[in-house]
Symmetry: C2
């Protein structure tokens, strides 16, 4: 398994993509998010079961990281900072409380359990970021994307993604060995914020020029090439400046969103994402050692993390006390953790801050929070028959009649 020839790696990629697609489709048929299926495909292909996918293979690891960079680039491309400011108050408060409280609770239970400080910090951090994709998908399936509650949830999910990225930048430097002192943490936070702000300010001036120049070339593929150069280049720059790669990729997405090439770039980046993002989820799944889930220690820590994750976000839903809508819907909508939580968990494992037990406990938290949110949301927020969302989708993806009866 140590060294694979190029054709063997290609065969493995074919297998990974097939497994991810198959399991993702089954998950969707069962009304679950596709990402859950992809994770489980990884568990089956990984060391615990079939032993076909070695997450430490250099090429697989690199492609998985490209998947993360492309994913964050796409999230940046979809993030409307202006609209976020308009939704304003309620979302920001939900996001701030929804980051701080789960982090504090997660950190607290881990320390109380006697875990090392760094493991407790990284575990707390995995609880911070809501999975925008899963939440948006469920709300859209319910035909409720335009409801005020949904707008607050989506706004808050974007803000907590940004906060989560900043936290990730800080935590990954700590995990790499930086000292855990108030001054050290403040310094790394300043670098992460500073990088994002400096990149956005400089980029606002330069990227439109680059995009106009690229558009004038009219060669095929120029917009995707520009997008990848910026996403990869800023990912490298963020890392070199002492922050996290994904902050750079996210900034590249934000910057290109405003240009005339945005639509074409979105389409091209999605194709690169179809290739690389499932590799990331399968590699994460393959890193899970299933045997630790028989370990009562892991199950207990996982249970505590789940409780911290659910309570933290649910309470955050009630934070904007002046908001007239159903606050329980907001809280439940924030529960699923996904992509960013997985990136944290993988980083914890790679940097040896997490052992197999801790990684298993966090995976359990991601899987349970993701599984519980869709049915709870349907219960609290019955689907409407006429979906006003501009999202065009085939009829079978619309409201589900059996839950409409509840």
């Amino acid at each position: 398994m140590e060294h694979l020839e190029v054709p063997q790696l290609l065969g493995l990629l074919a297998l990974i993509m097939f497994g991810a697609k198959l399991a993702g489709t089954i998950a969707r048929r069962l009304g679950q998010p596709v990402v859950l299926g992809e994770l489980l495909a990884g568990v089956v292909l990984g060391g615990s079961v079939l032993g076909l996918v070695n997450p430490h293979n250099e090429v697989l690891h690199f492609l998985a990281e490209v998947g993360v960079v492309v994913l964050l680039f796409e999230i940046g491309l979809e993030t409307d900072l202006g609209q976020l400011l308009r939704v304003g108050g309620a979302s920001s408060v939900v996001a701030a409380v929804g980051v701080a409280l789960p982090f504090a609770l997660g950190y607290g239970v881990c320390v109380a359990w006697g875990l090392p400080t760094m493991a407790a910090i990284v575990a707390g951090a995995t609880l911070t970021a809501t999975s925008v994709g899963i939440t948006a998908r469920v709300l859209s399936d319910l035909g409720r994307l335009q409801a005020p509650e949904s707008q607050v949830v989506l706004g808050a999910a974007v803000v907590d993604d940004i906060l989560g990225l900043i936290i990730l930048a800080v935590v990954s430097r700590l995990a790499a060995g930086a000292e855990v002192t108030p001054l050290g943490v403040a310094g790394i936070t300043a670098i992460a914020f500073g990088f994002l702000i400096a990149t956005l300010v400089v980029g606002r001036l330069m990227v439109p020029l680059l995009a106009r120049q690229a558009k004038r070339l009219e060669t095929p593929g120029v917009s995707l090439t520009l997008a990848l150069i910026l996403a990869f280049g800023l990912a490298w720059l963020a890392w070199a400046a002492g922050s996290a790669m994904i902050i750079g990729a996210f900034a590249a997405g934000l910057l290109l969103r405003r240009t005339a090439l945005a639509h074409e770039i979105e389409h091209g980046a999605r194709q690169i994402g179809f290739f690389t993002v499932p590799i990331f989820f399968v590699v994460v799944g393959a890193s899970v050692d299933v045997s630790v889930l028989r370990d009562s220690h892991t199950l207990l820590v996982g249970g505590l993390l789940i409780a911290a994750a659910v309570v933290g976000k649910f309470v955050a839903g009630y934070a904007p006390f002046w908001f007239p809508g159903r606050k329980a819907v907001i809280g439940v909508g924030m529960i699923p953790r996904g992509e960013v939580g997985l990136i944290f968990a993988q980083m914890g494992l790679d940097s040896k801050v997490f052992d197999a037990q801790m990684f298993g406990a966090v995976m359990l938290m991601v899987i349970v929070t993701t599984l519980m949110a869709p049915p709870l949301l349907r219960l609290l927020f019955p689907p409407v028959e006429t979906d006003q969302s501009p999202d065009p989708r085939p009829p079978d993806r619309g409201p589900e009649r059996e839950s409409a009866a509840t």
Copy 2:
């Protein structure tokens, strides 16, 4: 330079894509094929000049090979076997002579020069395949894509690609150490042909079913995923069966061409190609040791190969003696060597059949044959003002007025 972290590799990829795009654009402005610019960008980024791109880095090497697989998949997707049979006679004769004669001449001059048998075989093989892309592009720029001569050239270029792939499959097994006996060569040829035919027969039955199944899923990205699974999977299978990866990728393209997903797949695969194919050309360029071009031995062998390449294809243009059109146009249209020739050369270098000198000589041949064809074609085949080709392109890509005056 030995081990690079993930962010460093991403930064390097950004640099490679930027260099390739910049040099490709300059080449295009000078009326030259984009691939030439990408190769030269590789030479500059490689060990001879800046030393930034190490072609032996495992991740870069893998991405470059993915580029080759995607390229051959795209060529398969664009290959209409039916139309090929209709153009029929003239094209087949041009292709057959245009493969056999340059191979024989190239092999002959190398053996006469005292080179080892294997190096002579691989060098002969690099002369066999015309670059479909470059030829089609020049003819389209001249507004002559629908001329009978052009149709013969394009048909022959496709046939010689297929023959070239078969030869590559055979030669790569020989280069890997299989014995050079008539029986051995016959066996490997049979495997290569057999694999292609068996795959096409079995695939004709299964791929339409798979494509219908995939279409019914209606999940985003399903067609690209299916395409990559087939391309990578068949590349692995071809290799495992004792043939060459690219035969499998080419077969995957041929099989998916007939399905309802073909258009969507073509679009998705192009995006993956925009990402990976320039990496291949840059890595090939980076493998060139510029200092060997100051070596008179390399220049002489290069000159002999160029002579064999030009004479072989030019004579092939006259092989369909019954054809009423301008035979010189056909011959000149076949001269440029490109992608497949580079794949041969890289394989020769990787398997240590070529030393740096021999690799330099072959690169010289590829560059000179590619550079000489466009101006010669313009001279022999003046551009027409009204282009009847269905290829929609902006006005500035149309006939060039200065050469219309000749």
